[in-house]
Amino acid sequence: MDTPLREPTYLILTALAREPMHGYAIIGEVAALSDGRLSLRPGTLYGALDRLTDAGLVELDREETVDGRLRRYYRLSPSGASILAAETERLRRNVEAATARLRARKAQALTPRTAGGLA
């Protein structure tokens, strides 16, 4: 699987990090994790799950039938967990770097400048 992960892929893996979930629950969790910005449709979700399963990042956990509807639960595989951890670390470093730069910029803007410069 190519890294950096695309945002939907990253959020699907994040959703599955807590516990195994079925498709509908993953859609809801991804929407919640992205503050409603990302709304996965089932066709897109199952395509992504197929790719993640092919890459060995996601595994089938169990099957259930609820109200006559088949539900398959998916879980994060060990290699899925390590890819998610590596990607999260990469993003964390980026966030830290950006936060430090923005703080420095804000501090610079607040420092009063001497009128007339060096003259």
């Binding site: 498709g23 859609i27 089932p42 066709g43 979700l45 199952y46 509807r69 088949l70």
Partner: protein, 327 residues
Amino acid sequence: MNELERRYRRLLRAYPPDYRRERGDEIIGTYLDVAGPDRRWPSLAEAADLGRGGLRQRLRAAGATDLIPGVRLAGLLALTTAAFLAGFWVFAEQQLPPAEAGVPVFGPFVSVGIVAWCGWLIAALVVAVAPGRPARVAIGVALLMTAAVPAVSVLAGVPRPPLLVLAPMVALGVLALAVDDGLPVLARVLPVTAATVGGFLSYAMGVGAYWGAYRGGGGEFQPPIGTVLLLVVLLLAIGLGMRRDARGGWAAMALLTPVGLLNVHLLAGAVDGLASGAPRPTYPTMVGVALAVALLGPALLPAAVALRRRLGTPSAAAPCPTCGRHR
């Protein structure tokens, strides 16, 4: 089974039968969960989602999963080429014929084609600053404007660029619609850079008589552009192929139609035979060759997918990726 479920199942036919058997109930169940109890019809977006999902699965079953990323790559190259040509033609449009020639013009421009070329320049800008839906809309508008030029020319009685200039732009535009939403910044600025280079080149050539070459069908200018595009995509195909990435190969195949249309002058010259060391094809031959390229080119991709499926389907014998069952 209620009416909504029946309608979802009808749309699910976009998927291959094997996949439908394995995953159909699960996908439909999720759609019904998402839809809620009062819905009777699938939305257009859901129909498109199922259509896309079905196409992806069919390509996967044929061992052609790289096709869609390949077409997206071709989309970027097509848009870059279209922007380059538009930048070039915008300046060529300002090279008016001498008044004594009595050739009709479109205000201060050679033809109504200026509107379409400006549409492509705007599309290149939108791709750079607002990728995704706005970019696709801008490309769609530029494409429609280009395709509408012949009809506008007839209805309004204004001059237009030659069909052999418009046809490759339409083919490039159709492919450009496939451009990826999540392009990195460097890739997003490629079309607008190409448009600037095209404009500078046209300005540098600064030929007062260039309107003649333009009206002559771009016979001298378009073939080199088509050849450069072909070389670039072939180099990409070789480079990516060395990393076992088939995107470049699919991109090359997708670009054969616009490359062929840009090279109609040369191809038709080869059909008619060479005279005086340069291709001198007749107009009927050029039209015939353009039609052949426009009809055969788009058939190449599905033919290649079918051939790949026939030669060997690596995924056919593999277990279902999700449930692990053998089909």
